[in-house]
C-alpha cells in the first residue's frame, strides 16, 4: 500500500514505509472469556482475604471467645438481614438517596468552583482559604447545627454529604485543569481558538482523569457524610438503624447495618470506576498497559 504514493522520491517512500510498519504497537483485543479470567486472576486475592475475615469472625463467635451480645455470629447477622430485609432495604435506600444527591451537588458545585478558581487567581486566593477552613472543621461537630437550621428531614444529611465530598472534587479538578500541557494551550492560540473552545476541546477533557480520581474519594466520603448526618438526628436511614440497634444492644442488626453501609460505598465506588472506563477508554487502557508491564 505504500507503493506508488510518492513515485518521485522512492527513497523517502521506502523509509516512510519502513518506519510505518514499526510505528504502531499491535494490541490484542481480549475476548469476554479472557477478560473474565483476567478479572478473576486480579480479584481472587482480595476476595480470599474477605473470606478469611469472615472465617475468623465465624471462628471467634463459634468458639464463644466473645459473648454473642458483643460480637454476633455471621449466621445470626445474615438471619437478621433476611428477616428484616424490607426494613434494611428501606433505610438503606434512604441513605443511598442522600448520598447520591449529596455527591451530585458536590460534583456540580465542586467542578464549577474549580473552573472559576483556575480562570481567576483573585477568586482562587479568596476562595481557597475558605475552602480549606470548611474542610478542616470536623463535620460531625457542625452537623448538629444543620439539624437546628434545617430540621430532621433529608436536607441536613445532604448538606453534610456535600460538605465532606466537595473538597476532593475541587482539589482534583483544579489539579487537572492546571496540569494541561502549556504547549497545547499555545497551539490552541495559533489555531485561533478562544478561551471557551480551548476549555471545551482541550482543558476539560484533559482534566477528567484527575477529576475521576477525586470522584472516587468523594463518593465514599459522601456515604460517610450522609450517615454522620443521620447519627445527629434522623428517623430514617442506616445511621438511624445503627443508633437504634445500639440502643437496644441488638448487635446482629448493628452488624447488618454496617455491612449494608459498606456495600453501598463499594458499589458506588465501582460505579464511578465503570463510568471512568466508559468515558475515558484512552486513559484506562493506558493505565492497563502500565500495570501489565510490571508483571
Amino acid at each position: 500500500m505504500e507503493h506508488g504514493r510518492t513515485p518521485t522520491v522512492p527513497a523517502a517512500s521506502a523509509a516512510g514505509a519502513g518506519n510505518g510498519v514499526a510505528g504502531v504497537a499491535e494490541r490484542a483485543r481480549p475476548g469476554i472469556a479472557d477478560r473474565a479470567l483476567e478479572t478473576l486472576a486480579r480479584s481472587w486475592r482480595p476476595l480470599a482475604l474477605l473470606v478469611a475475615c469472615f472465617a475468623v469472625w465465624w471462628a471467634v463467635s463459634a468458639a464463644r471467645l466473645v459473648e454473642p451480645y458483643l460480637v454476633p455470629s455471621p449466621g445470626s447477622t445474615l438471619q437478621v438481614m433476611r428477616d428484616k430485609a424490607g426494613y434494611i432495604w428501606h433505610h438503606g435506600w434512604v441513605t443511598t438517596y442522600e448520598t447520591l444527591l449529596g455527591f451530585a451537588i458536590a460534583v456540580a458545585v465542586g467542578v464549577l468552583a474549580a473552573v472559576i478558581m483556575v480562570y481567576s487567581s483573585t477568586v482562587e486566593k479568596t476562595l481557597y482559604p475558605v475552602l480549606l477552613f470548611a474542610q478542616v472543621i470536623p463535620k460531625i461537630a457542625i452537623a448538629p447545627l444543620f439539624i437546628v437550621w434545617l430540621g430532621f428531614g433529608i436536607a441536613p444529611k445532604i448538606v453534610v454529604a456535600v460538605l465532606i465530598a466537595f473538597f476532593p472534587v475541587v482539589i482534583s479538578m483544579v489539579t487537572g485543569l492546571k496540569s494541561v500541557d502549556p504547549e497545547m494551550v499555545q497551539l490552541s492560540a495559533t489555531m485561533g481558538a478562544g478561551p471557551l473552545q480551548t476549555f471545551v476541546k482541550i482543558r476539560f477533557p484533559a482534566s477528567l482523569p484527575h477529576l475521576f480520581s477525586g470522584l472516587k474519594v468523594a463518593v465514599t466520603l459522601a456515604v460517610t457524610g450522609a450517615v454522620v448526618g443521620e447519627f445527629v438526628g434522623a428517623n430514617e436511614g442506616l445511621g438511624f438503624v445503627i443508633l437504634q440497634a445500639n440502643g437496644n444492644l441488638d448487635t446482629p442488626m448493628l452488624f447488618a447495618g454496617l455491612i449494608v453501609m459498606s456495600l453501598i460505598g463499594v458499589v458506588l465506588f465501582l460505579l464511578v470506576e465503570i463510568a471512568e472506563k466508559l468515558l475515558l477508554p484512552w486513559h484506562a487502557s493506558r493505565r492497563g498497559d502500565a500495570v501489565t508491564t510490571t508483571y
Binding site: M1, E2, R5, T6, T8, V9, A11, A12, S13, A15, G16, A17, G18, N19, G20, A22, G23, V24, A25, R27, D181, E183, M184, Q186, L187, S188, A189, T190, M191, G192, A193, Q197, K201, I202, P205, A206, L280, W282, H283, S285, R286, D289
Partner: protein, 273 residues
Amino acid sequence: MNEEVEQTVALAEGGGDAAAVDVDDVAVRFRTRKKDVLALRQVSLSVATGEFVAIVGPSGCGKSTLLKLVAGLLKPSSGAVRLHGDAVTGPRRDIGYVFQRAALLEWRSARRNILLQAEMRHMPSAAARKRADELIDMTGLRGFEDAYPHELSGGMQQRVALCRALLHRPPVLLMDEPFGALDALTREQMNIELNRIWRETGTTVLLVTHSIAEAVYLANRVVVMSARPGTVTEIIDVALPAERDYAETMGLEEFSSATTRIRRLLGAASGAE
C-alpha cells in the same frame, strides 16, 4: 500540490515584495521577581516566501523564543516582527506550529488530532477531511489514522503533529526542534520526508534545531545564534539544490564546508560563554 505552490507564489506577489517573515532589531527581556534576563538582543532576520531557514545555537540562546515571537505567542520588548508585511501583535492564525513533543490529545485518534485544527478554525468539514487524507498520505500515516497517540511511536506521533500544523495550508510553518526526541535513524527519515513535504507544499519554514547536519541538509540558509543574550552571529547560505538525496548530500563538498563553518562558529560562541 502545484496549485498550492502557485497560490503561495501569487500571495507573495500580491503582497508586494514583503518578506514572509521579517524580524526587525528585536530584543526580549524576561522579568522575574529575582532578576532580569535578556533572552534576545538585536536580532534581525528576513525570510523570503517559500524559503527554508534553520536556526542553530547553544541551549538557552533564545531560539524557541524567536519562534514564539514570530507566532505572536510572545511580544518583543523592543523591535518589530512582521508576517507578510503585517505587524504581529497577538497569536497568529496564519502559521503552523510544531513542538518538540508532539502535544497530541490522548483521547483523539490520529485523524481527529489532525482535524482539531479544522474544528478550531471552523473550516468546512468535507474540505478538511479531504485535506487530512492528502496529508496522511503525504506523511506516510496511512493505516495509522485511527490509532491513538499512545499506540504510535515517537516518529509517527510527530508526523501527526506535522499534519495538524499543515492542515490549513499555512504560508509559514514554525518548527521548534520537532525531531529532537527521536532516535537518530527515525530522525534521518523524518528529515528526508520534511525536505519532500517542503518542496511539495512550497511553505516557508523556520526550523529550530540542535543538529547541524539536519540544519544544513534541510535549509536554504542557516542562522547561527550566540549564547544568551542570543543574537545572530552569522547567516550561512547553503549552496545545495532544493531536492536533496540524503546520503549523497552528506558526501558533498558544500555540505561539509557548511557544517564545518557552523561547528566552528558554535564552538567559538560557547567558548566565549
